[in-house]
């Protein structure tokens, strides 16, 4: 970090985000971007309701005569669970519900998917990623020294989603992404694009050792150009058209389904939980809670004081971390010593490897012009 430490006076984003900029009042660009670009387009009142109804009508119309009118990736987390609940019980949609098993499902995730699928009577598809391949892929990222350890899991999700949609001729991807809790953009230095195949291939070439026979790969061209423009597949985020409050969503899910909430976002994957609560903050100083909590501040669901209080304590559980560290190492087939070695090795990021960042940036700028959210999709 070149700047001295500074924290936004409105949100809690700070200079651990290398790209942050402040105005003279100490307010960050995250705040201004929200006010200027996101808030004006975010309508959850009648305007939103009309947009939603119109979308639902369109999905249903395009789905006539087909087995499924949409597709929804279910991780067992709040956003996708709530989205499924709404899609079936209120909107009358017929999504193909699928789950990607990257080898790190927590019992909570599996339980939640089960209770939803049982009660809603939907048919579930799963894609099980070959663990030997996933393991090697993840280890390659550990060896790269970059923070981007979540890419193997995230890429598998994105690729599978699009392949499934394409295979079943489904035009609408229901995405649980939402402004309510995710309006603050991830700094790319923390969470880089999961579909930069040039970057991924460079990492695999340098550090991978297992041939990726069955791992589902996608490319930015496939799902950002071919599928949307040639096959007409659209990603829609219905949670942006309704008032969406996390606590309310959790209450409803608990009541209706005996759904179990997590203490931390992304608790549905044991690896992601370790990655975000320990590895990123402790090794790199990147605390992703700041992004999530800043989003809650901007959307009026939390005060800045409450958020500051939360991040004043470590994201990981001091009593359980040794056990988690042990499990992660065991599962990856390495010793605790080796995992610690990766923890202490020199820090790198995507810029130290071949990448398509400039192309992504150009594309993002283009898309931004149309006021559509463009930051990297996160598994919900």
């Amino acid at each position: 970090m070149n700047q001295k430490y500074q924290i936004c006076t409105k949100t809690i984003m700070d200079t651990t985000d290398p790209g942050i900029r402040f105005d003279d009042s100490g307010i960050s660009d995250h705040y201004h971007d929200f006010q200027k670009f996101v808030k004006p387009n975010w309508k959850t009142n009648e305007v939103g309701e009309n947009k939603l109804n119109s979308l639902i009508r369109k999905i249903k119309k395009d789905g006539i005569g087909k087995e499924f009118d949409s597709i929804l990736g279910l991780s067992g987390g709040v956003d996708s669970s709530y989205l499924l609940h709404k899609a079936i019980t209120e909107w009358g949609l017929r999504p193909l519900v699928f789950h990607v098993d990257g080898g790190w499902n927590s019992e909570l995730a599996v339980h939640n998917i089960n209770v939803l699928v049982n009660k809603l009577g939907v048919d579930l598809y799963t894609e099980v990623i070959n663990w030997e391949e996933m393991k090697d892929f993840q280890l390659a990222f550990f060896k790269s020294g970059t923070p981007h350890l979540d890419i193997p899991q995230d890429h598998a999700f994105i690729a599978t989603l699009y392949h499934f949609a394409n295979k079943h001729g489904i035009k609408y991807i229901l995405n649980g992404g939402n402004i309510s809790t995710e309006c603050v953009q991830h700094p790319l230095e923390w969470i880089y694009y999961g579909t930069d195949m040039v970057f991924i291939n460079d990492i695999l070439r340098k550090y991978g050792s297992v041939r990726m026979r069955s791992y589902p790969f996608s490319s930015i061209f496939f799902h950002k150009i071919y599928l949307p423009y040639f096959k007409g597949i659209k990603v829609v985020k219905p949670l942006n058209f309704i008032p969406y409050f996390k606590n309310e969503a959790i209450s409803i899910l608990e009541k209706e389904y005996v759904w179990k909430p997590y203490t931390l976002k992304h608790g549905e994957s044991i690896f992601t939980k370790f990655f975000e609560s320990y590895w990123l903050p402790e090794r790199f100083g990147f605390d992703t809670r700041k992004i999530y909590l800043s989003s809650l501040i901007l959307t009026g669901q939390m005060t800045r004081e409450e958020a500051l209080d939360i991040v004043s304590k470590p994201a990981y559980d001091k009593h359980k971390i040794d056990e988690e560290f042990n499990y992660i190492a065991t599962k990856l087939g390495i010793t605790i010593l080796e995992l610690k070695k990766y923890f202490h090795m020199p820090k790198k990021n995507f810029k130290d490897y071949k990448n398509l960042y400039s192309i992504f940036k150009a594309g993002a700028n283009l898309v931004n012009l149309f006021g559509i959210e463009n930051f990297k999709r996160r598994k919900k």
Binding site: G103, W104, N105, E107, V110, V117, L124, N130, E132, K331
Partner: protein, 258 residues
Amino acid sequence: MLNSRIIPCLLIQNNGLVKTTKFTNPKYVGDPLNAVKIFNDKEADELIVLDIDATKEKREPNYNLIENLASECRMPLCYGGGINNLSQALKIFSLGVEKIAISTSALNNISIVSEIASRVGSQSVVVVLDVKKKIFSNKYEVFYKNGKKPSGIDAVEYAIKLEQEGAGELLINSIELDGTMKGYDLKLIKIIRAAVNIPITILGGASSFEEMSKVVNEFGVIGLAAGSLFVFKGRFRAVLISYPTPTEKRNLLENSLT
């Protein structure tokens, strides 16, 4: 009151979890360690892990994998696959496993049962019988080589001999029902149960938790093992681990007659 045990049975091939149908067509189901962790978090009664290729490939059990799986289990773990002698069995026990399961090695030489049982106690020795009903008969024949070769040995007679040799538990595996979820073979349970006084565990065909409850009502305390039921979901056989919650288990099992 002693409850029947509800036991997930996991099959391992090439260090990955697979699920077969009638002992063929293995479908890849994921990482064994994560599955074991989930079953542990779901407070499963017991767990059976069988390496289905160890004997065929004439290799040692994967001790590293066994040790890792055992460390994630806070319930009894039974391991089977490739165990031919006492020293392998002892090594596996030292890794944190409660019971070992043998199949082919007992068929080849039944005295291995007493050899291991006399050292560690019968309670830790499970013998697996892979069986198929004989055509035009009420009898069942024991098969080996992963259910492909008939041994010519009658299942009931064999079960009686195994009890005499000191087996602590019999795992009766129905080849024809494997992976089908069509329901347990009740006739098979009946004849084996009547023939021996040691605990038996039935595997193959489990269709639902409700069915398990019915089996307990009919036969009393029995081990209820299943693979597909705990690993697949719905008509597309989506891979998703499930297991009755403690409350569901209580409701299913405590309606029995005992």
